[in-house]
Structures are given as C-alpha cells and as structure tokens.
Amino acid sequence: MRTPLALPLLAAALLASGCASRDWLAYGYDSKHFSRQPNESTLTPLAVQASLHVNFDFAIPSGPTGGGSTHSFTASPSIYNNVAYIGGLNGIFYAIYGTGPSRGTMKWQYPPGTASGPDACGITTQPLLIASGSGNPSGPGIASSAAIVSGVPGHARAVIFGAPDPTSNGGDGRVWALDADSGQCIWKSPVVAPTSGTSKIGYSSPAIAHNRAYVGVSAKRPDFPITIGHLFAINLADGSQDTAFTFNATNGIAGGGIWSSAAVTPSGNIVVTTGNSCHDSNPGCATEPSVNRALSMLKLDYTNGAVLWQVQPVPFGLDEDPDWAASPSVGQVSCGSVAISVQKDGYVYAADIKTGGPFSNPACSTPGHQLECPRWSFPPVVSLPFTGGLHGDTRFLRMAALDGDRLYIIAGGPAVGESVPGHPASPATNRLYSLNVCSSDADRIRWILDVPGFAPGAPSTAGGVIYIGSDDGHLYAYADTSVLPPTSFVCSYPGLPSGLSCSGAGFQNIGVPVQLKAVPISGSVTGVPAISRGQVYVATTSGHLIGMTP
C-alpha cells in the first residue's frame, strides 16, 4: 500500500522543511541573523545571471496618506506569504504585495489613510513619528525592521516592530503589534523610550524568542547626547513588558546605546552589541563607570538579562566612537556555535557562544573588568583589549551573512585603521570579504570584492549567490567562488595592486567573485536584501521597495 505510507512520509518531509521557512520573517531571515534563505530553488546563479530584473517597484506615495516628509526606508523588508512588510522614516508601516496582478501595491498601511476613530492603540491616521529632536536616518519614523510572528493569540501572524507613538508625548518609543493580514493594531507596549529622555527605538529590530520580543534603544539624536543602552523584553501575547528581564549598559551617565538588533543563540539566550561609552562625546565623563557594557558584544541570560560573557576589545580610554552598531550573526557552524559581528572601526570578532556562564578570561580582562576573549578576530590581533591604535567611526555598520562556514562581511581587513597621508579617501568601506569561520588565520580570507559605490548595504545569500545593494543605485548579485571560480584577483591589502608587489610585501593575491548581475534601482540600499520564493526584495533610502525576479 504505497499511498498510506507515502502520505505520512510526505507530511513528515513537509514538516521538516517547514522548520526552515521560504519566508523571510525577520531582519536577517530570523533571529539568528544569518541573512541566508535556505530554501531557494528559483534564484539559481544561471537564472540570476540571465534575467534578474525589477518585478515591481513600490514608491512611498505623496499626498496626505504619505506620512511624514522623510520618504525613506532604512529598515529592511520582512516577507511572509509573498507580502513584504516594512516601515518608513515617514512613520507609515506598509504591507506590499510581492506577486500577482497586485504586486507592488499596498495590501494595507498603518496608520490607515482614513479612519473613523481611534483604534485599539489609540491611533487614527497620524504617522508614527517623533515630533521633534530626532535624527536621521534612524528617525523620525520607523527604522526598526519588523519580525513576523505566530505567538499572538487570536492572530495567525502578527507584525512586531519598534516605533514612536504620536499620541504619547510627541513620540514615546514603544513596540507595536499589527495583524499581518488586516494591518489592525493588536497592542502597543508600555513606553520603553520616553521622549523626555535621550533614547528612542532606532534600528533595533525585535529578536523573537520565548514568546518575547527583545528590543534595544539608542540615542534619540545621534549622538547629542548619547544615551544609556537598554534592552527590553516584551511579551508577545499582550505587549506587556517582562520586568524580570533588565539590561542596562552602564551605571554611569550614558553609554552602550543599542543600535543593533539582538540575536538568539541556539539555546535561546540573547546576544547583543552596544554603542560607544560616554568617553568620546561627553565632557563630564572623564572616569569610566564601574559598570561599562559599552562597545561590547554580550551574551545575556534570556530570563533576566544577566551578562554571561562580554567581549570588549576597545577599552574606555581608546573610545573614539567605534560603536558596535552591526547586529551579530549567531548560530551553529562546523566548529561550534559562534557569534560574529564587525565593530565600526572595521575589526571583525567571532566569539564562542558557550553553554552556561558567566565566563571571563584573564587574558582579555583588565582590572575591574571581567571580559571574554573572542575565538578570533579579523585581522588577527595579538592581544585584547587594545592598548593603542585608532578606534573611531569608520562606518563599518553592516550585519554579516553566513552560509555554513562561509561568512560574508564588509570589514576593514588588513588595512583596518589606516589613514594614508595625502589620501583623503583611504578607508575602504566597500570591501566585502568572504571569510572561513572555522579556519586558521592564514586561511581566513576566501575572496574579496570591492563593491561598487562607497557605502554598500548588508549582504544576503541564497543558493551560492550573494546579494548586496549599494549607494550607487544598484542591487548586485555575485556568485560565491564555490559556485563559479574567480576570474580576477586583488591584493588582500587594498593599497597594492595584485601580483608580485602584493605577494612581495607579504600579502595574498585573493580571488574576486564573478558578478552575475547589476540591477539598476531607485536609491541607495542600506539594509539587507530579503529573499523569498524566487524574489529578492530591497528597500531604498529614496523610499522605494523593489522586488526582483529572474
């Protein structure tokens, strides 16, 4: 009897595959932030090379339903069932059809264009904006990418994001839940970033675990002044705050703002990165506070926010604003579970997640600090914390993508921190590296790509193709060198040409991945291309949400 046996097997297979969704339900695919779509069969390298093109192009509409005046997307889209969900700096959240005859049109917007009265969250039609004192591009509207969840009772799917509340003191920051199908507000959380203070919910996207959304706050107007970083846990069921979970980045006057999105470890704990201390920008902050979680990657206990380890490569005294603004990518690779991210000065760190804790290592600690060592850094560093060097704002802000042990990340590389005399544009902020996560330092670099433009967005990947937008008005697709061999080489040190002068100076000639496609689009991409069901979605700072298909 083949059929009765085959059906359960098929069901089991579907269930198993369902664990890895074809949707793109959060910033970086899910709360691990691998920015990888594991179930993609349409976007093959050949198909992308042959015909990737714009399938739809939605632009934030002008007029009375267009919200605030900043028609720009700095959040990244999340995708569920061929609908893209994203909020704009104009204070409007959109659900946009990605396929079918209505593709590129609104399924709904929130707040709605017209309303007969206040909804369950007290909103009629006013956009979710901070009235004054905010700063672009993490405000004044919605910069927090949405997570699409199933844990809200009575709703098949809900859309969770952080945004200002225009009905509350000119834009107090709250976490919001909308019904994914109807766009109606389900709940809004208590205020987590009051306008009376110095913080707002900026880029921090909710990390979903244990029926909670974990969201951080950063400076309301960067960095004037900087704020104290906090991470909050919001119960998905009703939007209440789980007060058992507390994380404060400092007990000083300011420091450790959370510009990034927390990630969730395989065992359910939280990894988060934090911004600069008060050292760089506050004259009243000459002494390091006794609790200093700024400029760190931290693992937190998901129940109470207790610090389980802290990697803090740049000490208080060297803080020249190298925020750890990029979100961590966290999860299993062939050599264990790691958390990986780039700090704004261009150094990449990979830390072992570990089980239990708290952990620290005397080799990376200093008096008064219980710090952990990373497994590796890129470029390699002889000892941490640093005792010198230049650690400032060199704009390495983008989250990595991770496919198995293959990491894709924009980083400083061997030239990190270099300022070349007489050469004003020497920091290479457009160099995308593919790194071997589990190799030795000598074999760390797999390939190097100088992305066209000056400031690319974050990469994502599916089926051996890497997608990355840039500020030159293109979405680029490249073939990983495991798919297509490189046809050109660059020097691992960007100041030298490839060839003998590169190797002669002790550097490596490294392959360059083949460009499959450069698709012209409207505006710059700062976020992550989302990949779902054969389509690549990007949002641009000129207020376009664009879908591309072969």
Partner: protein, 148 residues
Amino acid sequence: MDMTFRRRALKDNLRASTLVVGCLAALALPPHGVALAQQTVDRQFTHTLLAPGIAASAPATVRLRTVPVRLVLRNLVVGQGTAKDVANSSFAVMELQAGHVVTTIAGDRQERVPGDFWTVAKGANITFENPHPNAAAIIRVTSVEATP
C-alpha cells in the same frame, strides 16, 4: 640612535609628541588637491613595493615656513614575513598605527603594539618582522629632511 617610547609608560610623551608633529603638519599642509598632485602612484592604489617584505605609500610633503626643512609623511606597510635592513635616509619618527611588528634597529630588537612610537636615526637600517597572516603592520613615518 634608537629612542623608544611605550604608550603605556609614556602616554603623555606620546600625546605631546604627536601633538607637536600634528600641529607642524597642520600649519604647513597644503590643501588636499595639492597633496594629491604630489603623488606619483596609480590613483587606484596608494602604495608601492618599497623593498622585499614592505610597501610604502606615496610621500606627502609638508614644507615648514620658517626653516629650510620639510616633513615627509608616509605609511609603511608590512605583511606577513620579514623586511630586512630597510634603509632609513633621514631622521624619522615611527608610530605603529595598527597590527603587530617586531623591529630591529642597530641590533636592538623590540616588539611594537599599536600606539608605540620610536625614532630612527638618519642612515640606520631597520628590520621589520610581522608574524601574523592577513594582518598588516601599519607604520606612520614622519621624516625630517632638509629642503632640497
């Protein structure tokens, strides 16, 4: 003669010296356009191979106004390996900006970490060793030369 300073021990000296050199440079530096015009390397690349194991950026020259002296600023970059007996034609202040390097000057072998700076006498040779793969030792060199 090699005079070595360590950031951790002589932070104030470091800052004072850096300030002096920086102020001199700021007073005498031409606008960016002029500085760029003085470069001879390909615009795409900032460095050329100086000697086996070491590359250098194009020199940026700062002419002092009251004395017939110029400051020559350039970066030396050492990849993994050894650059042996690199000639130093002028008195120079060297500062390790990034990476890790071991220098040998007149038989004196010293480990350098970012923030360290040291001086090298005119005519002295210097050997650089960088044991780390995929990491550059980036050394800012400020030389003092008589104006030709």
